[in-house]
């Protein structure tokens, strides 16, 4: 038996892929493993929210290629993301160790990391994702609520307009990308009050118009503080809102006990006690 095991990842000329998250705040959130993936890569692709973070990434690797220039006014975003996947796959097929670095968590609200990993694996390459600290993680810390207490639903805001979805107002509701809600035109980065008025109308089916709404943006630079604004629901259409801001609606109603299930649980408990006694 050989003393050394030839791991496929160490075979020269065999490409491998890692998609990692940089976290949300520069200098604060990068995990040791993600940093190692960056350092060990032959080429690093970067899709980051902040060009300052990109500068930081460049200090970790000599070949960092920004994916931002592939965006263009009027160009379908999906086409851009397909180009990103193609760029990463080309280097992978050339036998390179490729690292895709994304802001936050690479697998949350991000199409291309999932896609490129899927494609790489389909072609027989080793590929995986390393989680990062996401905007959602920061939100719980900064707003100080625990999703486990009352439950928490998350929706991409447009989904509430495009699809029939059931909101549970007994739990928290977190809406992502409200600033671009209803944006069906691919080149635009924001939508106006008329679009958000539709969202307010939809939310009005489950919440009173004066229900509290929290608008949140986490810190991306360590010299920043989280931005937290509190308004009421009917004001949501008119306030200024950017794509990176997240909207949170606290519970509007109290949890109602499920009496039927509680009774059945009681029966089970009684049976269990009976079994224990035997």
């Amino acid at each position: 038996m050989s003393d050394t095991i030839p791991f496929p990842s160490n075979v020269p000329g065999r490409g491998r892929l890692a998609c990692v998250g940089l976290g949300m705040t520069l200098g604060s959130h990068l995990t040791p493993l993600a940093r190692s993936h960056i350092a060990q890569a032959d080429v690093v692709f970067a899709a980051l929210s902040d060009a300052i973070a990109e500068e930081w990434l460049k200090s970790m690797h000599p070949d960092v290629r920004s994916l931002q220039p592939y965006y263009a006014e009027g160009k379908p975003r999906m086409r851009t993301y397909r180009e990103w996947v193609a760029l990463m796959m080309a280097e992978l097929r050339a036998g390179k160790r490729v690292c895709g670095v994304f802001y936050g968590h690479p697998g949350i609200f991000a199409w291309s990391p999932h896609k490129v990993i899927e494609q790489a694996r389909a072609e027989g390459y080793e590929a995986h994702m390393e989680p990062g600290i996401s905007a959602e993680d920061c939100l719980y810390a900064d707003l100080g609520f625990d999703p486990g207490r009352y439950g928490c639903q998350h929706f991409e805001a447009s989904q509430l307009l495009y699809c029939e979805r059931r909101i549970d107002p007994a739990g928290y509701l977190v809406l992502w990308q409200v600033g671009v809600v209803g944006n069906r035109s691919v080149g635009r980065l924001d939508t106006g009050p008329a679009y958000r008025a539709l969202l307010v109308e939809r939310l009005g089916q489950d919440y009173p118009p004066d229900h509290e709404v929290i608008i949140y943006r986490g810190a991306t630079l360590p010299i920043e503080r989280p931005r937290i604004r509190r308004i009421i629901l009917r004001e949501l259409a008119e306030v200024s809102l950017t794509a990176e801001e997240t909207v949170v609606l606290p519970p509007a109603v109290t949890l109602q006990p499920n009496r039927a299930m509680l009774e059945r649980l009681q029966v089970l408990d009684a049976k269990g006690q009976g079994v224990a006694a035997v």
Binding site: L48, A157, P222, I223, T242
Partner: protein
């Protein structure tokens, strides 16, 4: 790496500095001979002055996810698009759509 980026990383990774008040941080930056722009950014609580110093533009944070049903020429969606009004006359069978997946 510019000194400003190094200082930002130092602030971001130090438990005392990350949540220090702007005044406390300014004292530390003064000792570290930080740039005027970084000191101003701390004062303002945002990175705008740093973009001037580093000659970089603020990049709009573009979400990578499209809601299903959003449309777009190359969209892959988890759900079928909204039903179209039924035509008065029978129309040819629809062309085959690609496998749908959330964008």
């Amino acid at each position: 790496m510019t000194d400003t980026i190094k200082l930002l990383v130092a602030i971001g990774s130090d438990a005392s500095l990350r949540y220090a008040s702007p005044d406390e941080l300014k004292c530390v930056l003064e000792q570290a001979q930080a740039s005027v722009e970084l000191t101003l950014a701390v004062e303002l609580g945002n990175g705008a002055p740093l973009r001037v110093e580093l000659c970089i533009q603020q990049v709009e944070q573009v979400p990578q996810m499209h809601a299903p049903g959003q449309g777009g020429e190359e969209e892959e969606a988890d759900v079928p698009p909204p039903e179209q009004p039924k035509p008065d006359r029978p129309s040819p069978p629809p062309t085959k759509r690609g496998r749908s997946r959330r964008g």
